[in-house]
């Protein structure tokens, strides 16, 4: 067997492993570069991919514990309450509403705690989808702005369109604030007034977070952006240390 070299078809020997996801990133990139240029290998890769997909179906069916169904159903019940479907998208409640709902549930009684964390998981997934879609939509506007944010060990990006009351914040490297504190985004008006832009949720085990920042007015009406550490649930006005900020 020829060893992996830079020969044109060396990638071919790796196609099976590529379909199984068994390559290192560098090898996978090498294969992808070859596939883009070689129709024969692309066709072969598609066949291997079909085999890999088939392997998904080979595990024997096993009935899951009944508790799983009950938990999912409870999470859906919470997600489907009609009063919480008043936003224009008509599908899911807004970010602040989600957090409020989760907090209420958690307070309600101990038996809700599990549902609350499920609900949070559900909302977090929905918000992740929304943040991605919103950022994508914002980027496609010709007038959209991207502000790079940087502080000690923290990097972030704020994407917004001056004409919209909306921005998407992506941020890396934040420390877990613990259960009693939360990161809160602020929009700063020229006269110094601070308006809450929402609370940032840090997904577990990731140094990465995002937030769709919702403002009352188009972003061009604000002169700055900031992020502070506040008590859990947020504050009406900033009270805690400023983590990072930027002019808009």
């Amino acid at each position: 067997m020829p060893p992996t070299t830079q020969l044109p078809h060396a990638a071919e020997a790796l196609l099976g492993a590529y379909a199984l996801g068994a390559l290192t990133e560098a090898e996978a990139l090498q294969v992808e570069a070859h596939l883009a240029a070689c129709e024969q290998c692309a066709a072969r890769a598609a066949e291997f991919q079909q085999i890999a997909k088939g392997l998904l179906h080979l595990a024997p069916e096993v009935e899951p514990p009944a508790a799983l169904r009950a938990r999912l159903k409870a999470a859906l019940d919470q997600d489907a309450q009609p009063a919480r479907r008043s936003n224009p998208a008509g599908r899911r409640l807004g970010w602040a509403g989600a957090l409020a709902a989760v907090a209420l549930l958690a307070l309600n009684s101990a038996q809700w705690v599990r549902n609350a964390s499920l609900q949070a998981q559900l909302e977090s997934l929905a918000a992740q989808e929304r943040a991605g879609q919103t950022a994508q939509a914002l980027r496609s506007y010709p007038s959209s702005q991207v502000v790079e944010l940087e502080a000690e060990g923290i990097r972030g990006t704020l994407v917004y369109d001056p004409g919209f009351p909306l921005a998407v914040l992506y941020i890396w490297g934040l420390e877990d604030p613990g259960p009693r504190q939360a990161y809160q985004a602020w929009l700063i008006s020229a006269d110094g007034t601070r308006t809450s832009g929402g609370l940032l949720e840090l997904p577990e085990e990731q140094g990465f977070a995002w937030l769709v920042v919702r403002a009352n007015r188009p972003l061009q009406d604000y002169s700055g952006f900031g992020l502070t550490l506040e008590p859990a649930g947020g504050s009406p006005l900033p009270t805690g240390p400023r983590i990072l900020g930027s002019d808009l």
Binding site: M1, Y18, A59, L122
Partner: protein, 180 residues
């Protein structure tokens, strides 16, 4: 509307939960972890149902793909390895005609048989890669054999699966015509 969505969701759950949980159990080999990953998979279905495109394949395949990725993410978070998955949303991957008119179940049955026909060393290399998410380097370390041997086992095993499972079904007209 919401109630109807919920009923539909639960019907899907009842139909496919055993498939999803079975795959999770196979991959994670731990009932509690398999339950958590199954839960996350179905929550993703609920949130992302709009992204499902029926023309691209059966819902169960979509669900199982999500389940596998979620399980692999979990492995990755537990720092078992940082790696890249091939993106199987690639259009190219959907251009191959269905190799057979058999029922889905019969197709998976024939793949299962093909897998069982592989020499044990090739089969286990493929399973470690796909179900445990190990790279061929990690497989080499795990089995304490040379990397080149792992590469060869995977390559031969996948070629053999292709011959056993895909080629007998492929009519001449849609065969890619390559024989390597």
């Amino acid at each position: 509307m919401a109630a109807r969505n919920q009923a539909a969701f639960l019907a899907l759950y009842d139909r496919y939960a055993g498939r999803v949980y079975g795959l999770c159990l196979r991959m994670l080999q731990d009932p509690a972890a398999a339950e958590e990953v199954s839960q996350e998979t179905f929550l993703k279905l609920w949130v992302r149902a709009g992204q499902f495109d029926p023309s691209r394949g059966a819902l169960v395949s979509w669900l199982l793909t999500i389940a596998r990725r979620t399980a692999l993410d979990r492995f990755r978070r537990e720092a078992r390895r940082p790696r890249l998955q091939p993106d199987d949303s690639d259009d190219r991957l959907h251009q191959i005609p269905d190799p057979s008119s058999e029922s889905e179940e019969a197709r998976w049955g024939s793949l299962r048989l093909a897998l069982q026909e592989l020499p044990e060393d090739q089969r286990s290399a493929i399973e470690l890669a796909y179900y445990q998410g190990l790279s061929h380097r990690e497989i080499a370390e795990f089995l304490d054999i040379p990397l080149g041997t792992v590469k060869t086992r995977i390559r031969l095993g996948m070629q053999r699966l292709r011959r056993l499972w895909l080629q007998p079904e492929l009519p001449r007209s849609i065969s890619s015509g390559i024989d390597v």
